[in-house]
Each structure stands twice: as structure tokens, then as C-alpha cells.
């Protein structure tokens, strides 16, 4: 059985990047970017999550099947969010009381 030995250096540098990104989040929160406040914060959060999943949870070295299952989790969360939003974003559509005119 082959096991990938991840050098400690990798963990340390990923950890450093995570801390740096946290610092960035805090720093950015002090600047008002208007519309982009949320987008920037979420982008950083997603990058951090991907780093944790890839390196600390070893999905990067995992088999294709494991990657598929890890991806499925996110895909299913996307189903939840997209279809729920499809309700919220379309609440004003199809004005009843006009279609028969």
C-alpha cells in the first residue's frame, strides 16, 4: 500500500496561508467596498475551505472516487441553495390577475 507522506513544511505553509487569509478578511472588513463586501469575504472563505479540504483532509492525494464523494457533498449543498433561491428570487414573477387579458 502506498501512502503519500506529506512533508511538515506543506502543513506549516498551508497553515500560514490560512492565517494570512484570516488577517486579510479582518483587514478588508475595515474598508467599505459596497456591493463587494460580501463577495470578497465569501471568496476568501471559500479559498480557505478548499485549502483545508485539499491539504488537511488529504483530498488532494485521495482516489478519484473519494474526490467524487467529496465533490458530491458540495454539489448537494448547491442543489439546496440554488433551488431554495429559485423560490426567493422569483417571488415577484408571473403577476396573477393579468395573464388572461
Amino acid at each position: 500500500m502506498t501512502r503519500h507522506i506529506v512533508p511538515v513544511r506543506t502543513y506549516v505553509s498551508v497553515y500560514a496561508v490560512l492565517i494570512a487569509l484570516t488577517a486579510t478578511t479582518v483587514a478588508v472588513s475595515r474598508i467599505d467596498l459596497g456591493e463587494f463586501n460580501f463577495i470578497v469575504a465569501m471568496t476568501i472563505a471559500v479559498i480557505k475551505a478548499v485549502l483545508v479540504i485539499m491539504f488537511f483532509m488529504h483530498v488532494r492525494e485521495a482516489s478519484a472516487l473519494t474526490k467524487l464523494f467529496a465533490g458530491a457533498g458540495f454539489f448537494w449543498m448547491a442543489i439546496l441553495i440554488v433551488f431554495t433561491l429559485s423560490d426567493y428570487l422569483s417571488r415577484g414573477w408571473l403577476p396573477l390577475g393579468q395573464w388572461w387579458r
Binding site: W76, I79, L80, D87, S90
Partner: protein, 554 residues
Amino acid sequence: MSTIFEQPRVEAPANYLNVDYGWKSWLFTTDHKRIALLYLFSITAFFMVGGAFAVAMRINLASPRGVFSADTYNKLFTMHGIIMVFFFLVPSIPAVLGNFLIPIMIGARDLAFPRINLLSWYIYIVGGIFALWAAFDGGVDTGWTFYAPYSTTYSNTHVILTAMGVFVAGFSSILTGLNFIVTIHKMRAPGMTWMRLPLFVWAHYATALIQVLGTPVIAITLVLLALERILHAGIFDPAVGGDPILFQHLFWFYSHPAVYIMILPGMGVMSELVTCFSRKGIFGYSFVAFSSIAIAVVGFFVWGHHLFVAGQSMYAGTVFSLLSFIVAVPSAIKVFNWTATMYRGSISFDTPMLYAFGFIGLFTIGGLTGLILATMALDVHLTDTYFVIAHFHYVMVGGMVMAYLGGIHFWFPKITGRMYPELWAKFAALVVFVGFNLTFFPQFLLGYLGMPRRYYSYPEEFQVLHVMSSAGASILGVGYVIPLIYLAWAWRKGPRAPQNPWDAKGLEWEKAPSPPPTFNFDTLPIVTEPAYNYSGEPEKEEPLAGEQRGDRHA
């Protein structure tokens, strides 16, 4: 099968039951077969508790003005729903028959994670204790759906305690699903390719996917519900800026697929019963196998059909309605394929097959009335009426419980090493079928006429139908008690079962003794033929089998 000679008195060979009798050997066992029995006894207990609540409801509804108070009745239907859904239906076939059979069917000695398997039973029991504690300490009255804002703001019953019970039991379900997925991927015997797996295993694989992908959402939803109740977090309660419809979205994201957690394993049982008692291979193996996966996936895209009149947008309602029609297709494929399997088969009418016939008829009625409810305009009329109640009881009781009883009878000789009394079993199957239809068919009519669900009283003109339903429920109750008695008797006193009393195909019948030894097989089996090879013909090269060949690399 039965012999006219006295059974010679010989010591039974060592099996998983007689290997040790001490209580520790049960409570600390990691044998999937013993854990299956732990589940069998515990879910039977929960079924009786949930059934007792149903009996109380049907007594109340025999008279238009009710017997109990409105508050009591609210608690009765809530506890009936919660116990039956989360503590009986969800674990029933997977945790009992799946646990017992999957390793044997694929030629393995146990599940991939035997200790996690035991842990999942303990978690289930802890969740069950929470729910029972809530039930007997005043109860809960939100309905099994826990809808906000009633559950978050107004109910003064044990909402959080009950939700805790469901939350905890959810982890048991996740662990069982995880265990099945890994086992089916990693522990198949040599020669047991994906396309040779019994369809029971395919159905459980699909079920396990839903358990793993869906259950976390109900867990987090119930946590949010508790946060809303305790801290007024403003997620679901409109008074503090929340949205009660969001609760319905999150709740049904799990709870609609959970319907398939409850029915898919039953469909898996059906494929085994229909092939065995028709003496034929399944018609369209890959269609039946992949329709399970299709149900698992598409089942996640339809939950909005529960929100048609809740304030969901017209656009979302239309999309969810169309998708709900699509999810009926794979279920229909299964029904057609079982029917085609029976066509020109040499059918025998043993008890498990009687339940299989019941399943096909009742599940078809349950499924087709689901399409009526998925039609938006009709649903406006039928939402929250007894039509809905009748619909899902046809699926859950007429489908799942029938399959469960059929499966219990079919594998009873394997599980216990004994035969049950066939005449009593046939009689009970008939009583169950008659009682079931008398209970629930009138509810279709009641719902169509406008009787709303969850009401403790009703106008006089509904009484005839309600009394019919209550009368049916008492017959159905008898139909459930009879098997309990003769199966308990047969377990101790029934005639010894041979290894393969049905002359069935499958490793559990052909390679494992009845009951199996602790590690299932004396020598590990090698699989050389497709599933359900009742005709004994050599394997036809299915187009998909080629793709699967490469997946067992070292």
C-alpha cells in the same frame, strides 16, 4: 421441505446465535447479524408505541366530536408521526434486513466498520430515549414536520427535546449509510461485480447515498429551530426578521428524499421476492438497478411540492411540479419490471410473495395519487386533507411495511434457522391486506370531500367513512399482532429450516448455512454467475459490465 421423520436430536452446529448467550455478547457485539437483531427488537418496540398512538387517534375519530381534547389529539398525531417516521420507517429495512444481509449477499464477513455499526445502534437508542421521554412527559404537538413559526414561537410542549431525539437518531442513519457505501465498494467477494450485485444491495446503496447526503440538512435545521426557540435568532420567526417558509424548504430538502430512504429498501426486497417466487431472472436488471440511483438523485430536486400553497413562488412551484412528475418514472420502471418478471414465470404463492403482490398494488395506488398531489391545481384542493394522509400511508404502510413483512418472512429461516407456520402466515397477510385497505381507502374519499388532516373533530357527514377507517385499523392491528405471535413461537419451536428452503438464488441462500456462523461463510465464496440466474443460463455480456471490470484494481 418438511419431513415425515422425527428430526434427529443432534447439537446444532455453531452459528451466530448459539455461539454465546450472555447479555454482554449481545450488547457489545460487532457481528452485523446480531446488531441487525438488536435493531429488529428495538424498532418493533417503537412500532408498537407508534401504533398505540395510532390506535388512540382512530378511537378519537370514531365519533364526530372526538373522545380526547384537541390538545391531546395534537400530541397523538405528532408522536405517531415522529416515532413511525424517524424511529421505525427510516431504520426499518436498512438497519434490520440490510444490516443482516448486505455482507452475506456480497460475500463479506461483516460490514466495513463493525464497531461503527454497533455505535449507530446505541445512537439510535439514545435518540429514541429522548423522543420517548418527550412523549411520556407531556408530549409535543407541532406535527412531525415541526413547522415554524408554531414550533419556534407558540408551542409550549417539548419541541426541543423531541427535536434532539430526531437530531441524534439522524447520526445513526448517517453512520449506517456510510457503512453500507464503504462495504459495497470495498468488500465484494471475488467475481461479485457491480452488475452481479443483488438488486437489494443496489437499493441499499441508493438509500445510503440519501442518508449521507440528506440527513445532515435535517440535523442542522433542527439545531436552527432550537436556536430560534431559545435565542430568537431570527431565522424562521417572522416576528424577528426570519422566514417560516425557509424552514419548510430546509425541512423538506431532507424529508422528501427521506421518503425514498423509507421506500427504496422495500423496493430492494421486492426484487428478491419477485424473482425467487417467479423462478425467473429479473426483467431488465440494469434498469432496476439504475432506477434506484435515479430515484436517489432526482428525489432531491422535488421537495417544493410540499410548498405549493405555502407562499412559494409560482415559478418555483411549476419547476418542482414538473420535476415531481419526472421522479415517478424510475418508480414506474420498477413496477413494470417486476410485473414483466412475473409474466410467464412459474409463480408460487408463498407468504413473502403474497406481501409482494400487496406491495405492487398498494404502492402503485400510493405512487399514482402522488402524481395527483404533484399537480399544482389539484393540490390547492387536496393540501392538508386526508387525501395526503391516504397517499403516503399507501406508500409507507402499503409499500414499505408490506415489503418489510415480506422480507422478514422470506429471510426468517435464514435469520433464525426455523420455519414459520405457513398457514398462519398466509392468513395474517390476508388480514393485513384487508385491514390496510379498509383503513386507508376511505381516507382518500374523506380528503377528496374536504376533511382536513390533524383535526380532532369533524362534521357528522364524515362519520361513516371515519368509522370504516377505524374499523379497518382494528383489523390491521390484529394483522400485525398475529405474525408477532407465530414468529415468536416459530423462533423457539418452529421446525428447523434447511439452508435454502425457497430454492432461491443468492449467496445468503446458496453459500451460507441457516443460521449463518459468526463470520457468515465456512469458505469465502467466489461468484461466477449473474444475480437471479434461475434459468441456469450463462451470463449475457451486458454493455455496462465491461466498464465495471476495471474497478477492482489492487
